[in-house]
């Protein structure tokens, strides 16, 4: 579950202007626990998924059945692993005004599918109009078998995940605590820098 902090954005801005090297050091400190989570998530990514012929990489780029649309992505392990990463950049505010300052990301399309499949309908969409209405359920079931079931980090289904979500659950909030500690120091450093500036040093 994300933790709200105040003044970090301003503190970072101040440090970026007044003590960029200090900020770099802090960023490296924040990144360390995040890298651990990333590593765990990448390790969870299998080399292959059996039984999902249309999801595994056929050796070429699939073509979309509808012109102008993107083809259903193929699972390429390295691409998925590369997409499992973190970000210290301030995101754009959502509709309610919340901004994430430190986030774990699953960037690749295939990775996003693995991460989220089954969040809304754990057994596939009941309204499926496919020739094989059970395909969704079978796909989710196969992912659950091959990679693992969805793990929930927060209170809503939107916080569920198979790779990054599972890694975060496994981390048990250790990284978050470490990051917060560093951010606290960031704020303090910013205040020190402001005081120093006021003094004219």
């Amino acid at each position: 579950m994300p933790v709200e902090v105040k003044g970090v954005v301003e503190a970072r801005k101040i440090l970026r202007k007044l003590a960029p090297d200090t900020l770099k050091g802090y960023n490296a400190e924040i990144a360390a626990p995040l890298k651990d989570i990333t590593k765990v998530a990448r390790n969870m990514t299998p080399d292959s998924i059996t039984g999902l012929a249309n999801f595994t990489y056929p050796g070429y780029e699939r073509k979309a059945s509808i012109e102008g649309k993107r083809a259903f992505p193929s699972f390429v392990p390295n691409v998925v692993r590369r997409g499992l990463t973190y970000s210290l950049a301030k995101s754009r505010a959502n509709r309610t005004g919340w901004v994430s300052l430190v986030s774990m990301l699953n960037k690749s399309a295939a990775g996003a599918i693995i991460e989220t499949a089954g969040r809304k309908n754990p057994y596939g969409s009941p309204q499926s109009r496919s020739n094989n209405p059970k395909a969704g359920g079978q796909f989710i079931s196969k992912l659950n078998d091959e990679i693992g079931v969805l793990q929930q980090t927060g209170q809503t289904a939107k916080t569920q995940g198979r790779l990054m979500g599972a890694a975060l659950v496994e981390n048990k909030g250790k990284a978050q605590t470490a990051v917060l500690k560093v951010l606290e120091r960031v704020s303090k450093s910013a205040n020190t820098e402001i005081a120093r500036m006021k003094r004219g040093n």
Binding site: P2, V3, E4, V5, K6, V8, V9, L34, G83, S91, A93, G97, W98, V99, S100, L101, V102, S103, M104, L105, N106, K107, G111, A112, E115, T116, T153, T159, G161, M164, G165, L168, A175, Q176, V179, L180, L183
Partner: protein, 588 residues
């Protein structure tokens, strides 16, 4: 889209702060609008605006009276007010422009039209209305320089060559709708609203002044009253805040209090009698009750519906127009195609008719005969005239003139031969060469010796000498008609009478063949005699009604040879003179 698991978040209150600021500003604006100072200021401004409007009206009236249009002053004032509302131009600008135009035209209707055009041009080009109006005023009087200086696409030279009505029509065509386009923009709408507010000020000022006059209260007293009212309103606003904080019941009491009623009444009157008719026929009248808000909302929705309906109607009209234009274009194309086809068919028929035109047939036949150059040219010229080929006719006429000149020269030369004979210094070689050249040019195939012989001269072409002919024997069988050798001396074409093998046997002296040929010749002669007898009998039957050709001959004619010689001589003479030898347009 990346899947994001936020670990640390923060709340960005930028949007909230923005909203707060907006509400704060709105509150300030509201307070500003209804503050004491603003009310007083509005009252003063209204009176000032009324005063200026009165001045404008007075000016217009005076100027119109100067051009004998004083009677139209009230109507024109109304026209200008409406135009100002429609275009967003101030009443003062329009009045000045109208005065300038009416002075030039001396006619209110024309001035109104010119003012509308000036407005279109002004809003279409961004030029000052007064400048455009002045330019039009001068152009109306014939001075087009000012109009050219507007740089709206006319040069002085162009304008000098045009009538004012044409220029006006062109301007109306080019800038038609520019004003409506301009007022449709945001700036245009704002200008129109400003003008509405200005007019509202004028009306309010007018009402205030009138009320003041009626009540016989001085302007200072009125000002004090307005200030007092403003203070009351200020106190009232403070009370409103307090009451709202407390209870709705308190607010109701406040609403029923005398000052609030007065304020409501004032705003209602302002809305009903001033803003409502001026701005858009409703939507702002009355107090700010819930019912009024509902009515305003209904009116707005109705207006939106009307706009949508108008837009739909416009679209439908545009589509119908486009369809009509397309069908018209198709019909025009079809008509053009049909006309083209008809023309093509007519051309073919004309061509065919030409082939069967008797006159043309005769000319064509004559051209195929043995004719000289002059005759050829004449025939061709006739053909060109029949064909209505002017270009070819002109060329042929030129050639004919040259040929006729050559023929005349030849005739002169031949006439002068008699006199040259006795002249020891006569240039015979030059004359002979010239005659030969002319014969060649005119395509006359009569031997030069014959021509000399006719003059009783003998030509020796080798020595280039000419002597008198002692005696001349003319064989009627050796006749040249238009240069073609006719008569018995014409080379015998064996193939024309007898087959080649028969002729060969006859030439070899084959007795049987000779007998057969002689019998054949006798048979032909017998046939000819029979035909002659038939002709005689027919002639006798008809009573001797035959065409007679009378040939007047000098001297005596005692044989057919003499007659043939005489006719031949006549033909020579005519050819020499360049005259036509045509019977029924057929050359002989």
């Amino acid at each position: 889209m990346a899947i994001n698991f936020p670990i640390v978040t923060t709340f960005d209150d930028k949007a909230v702060r923005k909203a707060d600021d907006a509400f704060t500003k709105l509150g300030k604006t509201f307070i500003g609008v209804f503050s004491v100072a603003k009310v007083v200021s509005f009252g003063k401004a209204s009176i000032k605006a009324f005063s200026e409007a009165q001045k404008e009206a007075q000016l217009l009236s005076t100027q119109l009276q100067a051009v004998n249009l004083g009677f139209a002053s009230p109507f024109l004032n109304e026209f200008i007010d409406k135009l100002a509302l429609a275009t967003g131009k101030t009443g003062g600008d329009l009045t000045n422009a109208f005065i300038a135009l009416s002075q030039a035209t001396g006619d209110a209707t024309t001035a109104q039209k010119l003012l509308t055009t000036a407005l279109d041009v002004s809003l279409g080009t961004g030029k000052d209305l007064q400048t455009v109006a002045n330019a039009l005023q001068r152009a109306y009087k014939g001075e087009t320089t000012a109009l050219a200086k507007l740089r709206i696409g006319y040069t002085t030279a162009e304008l000098k060559g045009k009538k004012f009505d044409d220029v006006l029509a062109d301007l109306q065509k080019r800038f038609s709708g520019a004003a409506s386009d301009a007022v449709d923009t945001f700036a245009g709408k704002m200008a129109r609203l400003n003008e509405a507010v200005d007019q509202a000020k004028e009306k309010l000022g007018e009402g205030l002044v009138k009320g003041l006059e009626d009540s016989k209260v001085s302007i200072e007293e009125l000002q004090q009253k307005i200030i007092d009212t403003g203070e009351a309103l200020g106190n009232l606003a403070a009370d409103v805040v307090k009451f709202v904080d407390k209870t709705i019941a308190a607010f109701d009491r406040l609403a029923n209090s005398a000052p609030v009623k007065f304020l409501s009444k004032l705003i209602e009157l302002l809305g009903r009698y001033v803003l409502e008719p001026v701005v858009m026929g409703g939507g702002f009248g009355g107090s700010f009750s819930a019912g009024d808000a509902k009515r305003a909302g209904d009116a707005r929705r109705l207006s939106e519906k009307q706009n949508a309906a108008n837009l739909r109607a416009q679209n439908a009209l545009a589509k119908a127009e486009a369809k009509a234009a397309a069908s018209k274009l198709a019909a025009t194309k079809k008509q053009a195609e049909a006309e083209k086809k008809k023309n093509r068919e007519n051309a073919i028929i004309n061509d065919l008719q030409k082939r069967f035109d008797m006159e043309r047939i005769q000319i064509q036949a004559a051209l195929g005969g043995q004719i000289n150059e002059v005759e050829r040219l004449r025939l061709e010229l006739m053909q060109a005239i029949l064909d209505e080929d002017v270009k070819r006719a002109i060329i042929l006429e030129g050639q004919l003139i040259k040929a006729e000149a050559a023929a005349a020269e030849l005739a002169n030369l031949l006439d002068s031969l008699d006199t040259m004979v006795g002249d020891p210094f006569a240039d015979w070689p030059g004359t002979i060469t010239r005659i030969q050249a002319l014969l060649k040019t005119l395509n006359i195939k009569i031997p030069i010796e014959t021509l000399f012989a006719e003059k009783g001269l003998k030509l020796d072409q080798d020595k280039m000498t000419v002597t008198k002919l002692d005696r001349m024997d003319v064989d009627a069988n050796n006749v040249y008609i238009n240069g073609a050798l006719m008569g018995q001396n014409q080379p015998l074409s064996s193939s024309s009478t007898l087959p080649a093998d028969v002729w060969a046997a006859y030439a070899k002296g084959d007795p049987a063949t000779i007998v057969a040929v002689n019998e054949h010749a006798d048979a032909i002669l017998a046939l000819a005699d029979a035909e002659l007898m038939l002709a005689d009998s027919l002639l006798a039957e008809s009573g001797g009604n035959i065409t007679e050709i009378i040939v007047n001959v000098e001297g005596s004619v005692i044989s057919e040879g003499d007659l043939a010689e005489t006719i031949t001589n006549i033909q020579y003479e005519m050819q020499r003179r360049g005259q036509n030898v045509l019977i029924d347009s057929v050359a002989i």
